[in-house]
């Protein structure tokens, strides 16, 4: 693993600029959306599953294979669970006021 100075600098630029974007994008959020937003952001960092897949692609020997498998499982739980649970929360906001579908539980 050897990065060139240019690659390092490019990564640094991306890091700093992304931090500003992340800051700007959520700074004005109504309270009622805090939970779904947190949950949605939670799903986005599930992209770590891609990292686990890259580990899996080069995995040799039982230890690295176990680690890769564990990484993919945990990452997938994060991604899939995160997006599904957020969708479930938001599903409840979409109903028109006055429309009655009865209580679920």
């Amino acid at each position: 693993m050897e990065l060139t100075a240019f690659e390092l600098l490019a990564a640094l630029f991306i890091l700093v600029l992304s931090a500003f974007v992340g800051y700007e994008v959520v700074s004005k959020v109504p309270t009622m959306l805090h939970t779904p937003l947190m949950s949605g952001a939670n799903a986005v960092h599930g992209v770590i599953v891609v990292g686990a897949m890259l580990v899996a692609a080069t995995a040799e020997g039982p230890l690295r294979i176990v680690l890769a498998l564990l990484g993919v499982i945990l990452g997938t739980i994060n991604v899939v669970g995160g997006f599904v649970v957020t969708d479930r929360m938001l599903e409840m906001f979409k109903k028109r006021p006055g429309e009655r579908t009865g209580d679920r539980r």
Partner: protein
Amino acid sequence: MDTLQILTYLVWLVASVTFILALKFLASPRTARVGNQLGAAGMALVVAWTFFTTDGMLANWWIVVVGALVGSVVGVLGARRVPMTAMPQMVAIFNGAGGGAAAVVAVAEFLRDAGAEGHADLLPLPFIIATLLGAIIGSVSLTGSIVAFGKLQGFIAPRPVKYPGSQAVTAVLALALLAIGIYVAVVVNSIPLFLLFVILSLALGVQLVMPIGGADMPVVISLLNSYTGIAVAATGFVLNNYALLIAGTLVGASGAILTQLMCRAMNRSLFNVLFAGFGTGGDAVAAGAEGEEQLREINADDAAVLMAYGKRVIIVPGYGMAVAQAQGPVRELMDLLLAKGVDVQFAIHPVAGRMPGHMNVLLAEANVPYDRLKEMDEINDDFADTDVALVIGANDVINPLAREEGSPISGMPILNVDQAQNVIVLKRGRGTGFAGIPNPLFSNEKTTMLFGDAKPSVEALVSGVKQA
């Protein structure tokens, strides 16, 4: 750079844009759902691309397939089955999984590079620093989230757990981590020491969250969410993968803002949340005893009449409504009162329930139109000409002690429930709220108590209003 690599960079770009738009859309009720779906689509794209184009995947594809199947089943079942009340715990668990994955990736990368045949020199410093950061932050997020989950789920005492010297232990842990980290980075890339570093990091996560009270868990979860983002960004740096780098940094930054917003809603600093051990409740014990005999009880029919013949009723929901799953009957109560010409509104405190927005989600689930839900600043002046404030399982967010000095919740903005003509409090038992402090509102002369689980209590009110 070959064509495939160029395409890979472009896929990362597209995915990053969908993530940014997802966060942006999630900040508005109208576009939130589309935003979430867009993020999921971007995620699917980058995952599929990685699967089909990565060298070596042909030999090890089964790891990814098996892992993805297991993870999907667990994730979908968890996300679909969990009751709405347990939502915060679920987010904590998913977050912990992400943190764990980041730590695992960091460990695997280190094992490969430091354990490589003939590897004599030290690994490049930026690389090793990012690996160590991914390992420590991911590990803290993993165990911290598990503790947060346990506290909310109730199998770990929600009270702040402190033992003598606990802060010294934290300090020693942090120093040991620093020392080992520096040694591994600049002296020798030792695998045993690196593994010790990971184990100590896992311990640090437990050590940091245990002293924090259950009422503050939402802030902690939000903060750990931000941590996982940073851990993912660090591994993105290690793997030179821009999708991870950008997504991780985005979440790291936006999670930090969200944490800040939550702290501000409670008028407390993050430092205070993390280190003050809110709700230790030294003074709470004494107060629990004195308040008891002064409470006046009311029966459901009298309470129903009071509301049915009022002009305006403000309902103040809290966690008690959530645990009792009383949101359906509450909607019914609202419908009946509206039919009788009573103006009904809901006052939502920013931290009512266990998470900001928790009440909104529950009431939306029960089809309460969201224009009836008023935020604190919007409705606080209206209590003065309100006939009945109906408090359903809320406590700390209406505690007038917050207006005075010397209480653990001093300075927290509260709903002005005590300004209403009558206050009816639905409460499960006579204990204190989550913060463990007494509430003088309950012994106020305007206040009457209706004890019992919120759901049957509200149902009794519903039948009372029907007859009134």
